[in-house]
Amino acid sequence: MIAARQFPAQAHPPTTLTVFAAASLTAAFNEIADTLRHRDPGLAVAFNYAGSQALALQIEQGAPADVFASADDHWMTVVKDSGAVKGEPAIFAHNHLVVIVPKANPGHVRTLQDLARPGVKLVLADAAVPVGHYARVTIAALEKVQGFSAGYADNVIARVVSNEDNVKGVVAKVQLGEADAGIVYVSDVTPAVAGAVTQIAIPEAANAVADYPIAVLRRSTSAAAQAFVDLVLSPTGQGVLARNGFIPVRTPH
């Protein structure tokens, strides 16, 4: 009754689309969904943002998702191997890592070398979370860069005080000033976060590049699923991703 009153002009019920996406995509995908809703006002888009590993598990257990966007190849492959993916996943963006410290800088972290200093409270995502995996790869790679001492990687890992279950947990602990430093994606330093943190760049030679694949899921019956994926890969979608700190795979619009 209520639905009928809300959509008086509609002959058929509104299309729904359920997107499972890595937590780091929150801002960019919300914006892309707005564009899609603008084109099709009857469309209802629901997002489930979480760590890619958690989403992969939920999809394997039969969660009703239409689209899966992962922050790394590993979890997309896990989902694909379980037979849940329709067609081939496409890489739609890359991401880099950055070290963030609270503006007040309670741990006096000014350089990447400072991360190894005893007493520093470093927060990472868990090694199972893509960004946590990339952070560990990057820390190991830094040890081989000039100016970093032997044992650097072990010392930095020894400073970890918490392994968060997704990247936004890392951001929150740094934003609140509880952690002295955290390693997140460049795209996580959104305008809302930028005011509360200082960024320390990681040299390109050591910076792990995150690849983001997207795919329509086999059990999806939503016509909007492919439209969403196409929009993400279109110049418009690539532009939104670029504005949100991602590295686009095509020339953005």
């Binding site: 868990d126 199972a128 918490s162 000033g177």
Partner: protein, 273 residues
């Protein structure tokens, strides 16, 4: 006919509750083999988490009892302005989502928090420590204890207290020798419930204390971390937590003094007769 209807209603209620409460536990139990359990019980992540869970939940429960008994005594035996409000405030943590409790704890006792700033100046930092785990457990478990003990103390016949008072016993003496022994079953039941709540604590802990093996990663956090990568190991850990909790709760009940937990029920029945 009436009795048939009553029996029917009771049977339906039991069936629904069995499905909702027991089936998930059974589903976890049947999914893992004893061999897999034995494999996981020797993993460092599990050993560390079990040790930490036991340590923190026991300390939290002791703190709950020591701090909770005086408050419960006050609420049960005294009348003062704003008492209703205090009672509601004491119960509030029960309805608060644990993650919200964790954020509140951070904003209060975190490095930049209201009280945390002062502690921080003194060189004390609580987040990411085992102490933070205990505080999170204390926060969520205390209301259960106070509710149980207040109810227990209120059930004590007022005339026992009056008689003791006319015999010139001091309030402390009355509390120790009259009120507490009668209300002991409630104290034990409340402590057992608080302990169980502390052991299962997850949301406030991961938010306030973080997740680090050996320091803040209790069993529920270990289960959650395992769930990120491997459903089977997560289920095995969950089953271990269930068996561990069951062993301790059952041990409390069957211990010589454990009869006191069930004693309240007998008292009530006796009075009705």
């Amino acid at each position: 006919m009436r009795s048939f209807a009553l029996r029917f209603v009771v049977a339906i209620a039991i069936a629904v509750l069995l499905v909702i409460l027991a089936l998930p536990l059974v589903a976890l139990l049947v999914r893992v083999s004893p061999g897999a359990l034995w494999h996981y019980v020797r993993q460092p992540i599990v050993v560390e988490a079990l040790k930490l869970s036991l340590l923190t939940s026991v300390i939290a429960t002791i703190a709950v009892v020591v701090l909770g008994v005086p408050v419960a005594y006050l609420l049960a035996t005294h009348h003062f302005r704003g008492k209703r409000l205090v009672e509601v405030l004491v119960e509030l943590p029960i309805v608060l989502p644990p993650t919200v409790a964790g954020v509140g704890l951070l904003l209060a006792f975190g490095r930049a928090g209201i009280a945390g700033r002062i502690l921080s100046a003194a060189g004390i930092s609580i987040p990411f420590t085992t102490l933070a785990v205990v505080i999170a457990q204390l926060f969520v478990a205390t209301p259960y204890f106070i509710a149980a003990v207040v109810a227990g103390l209120r059930e004590v016949e007022p005339r026992y207290r009056d008689v003791a008072m006319t015999l010139r016993a001091t309030p402390l003496h009355v509390f120790r020798r009259v009120l507490l022994p009668i209300a002991l079953p409630s104290v034990l039941a409340g402590a057992a419930m608080s302990w169980a709540r502390a052991l299962g604590e997850f949301g406030a802990t991961i938010t306030f204390a973080g997740n680090l093996m050996g320091r803040t990663q209790t069993m529920p956090l270990a289960v959650y971390s395992a769930l990120q990568t491997d459903l089977d190991s997560a289920v095995a850990l969950a089953v271990l937590l269930i068996l561990f909790s069951f062993a301790i709760l059952a041990g409390l009940r069957f211990a010589p003094w454990g009869a006191a937990i069930g004693g309240k029920e007998r008292n009530a029945r006796g009075r009705r007769r």
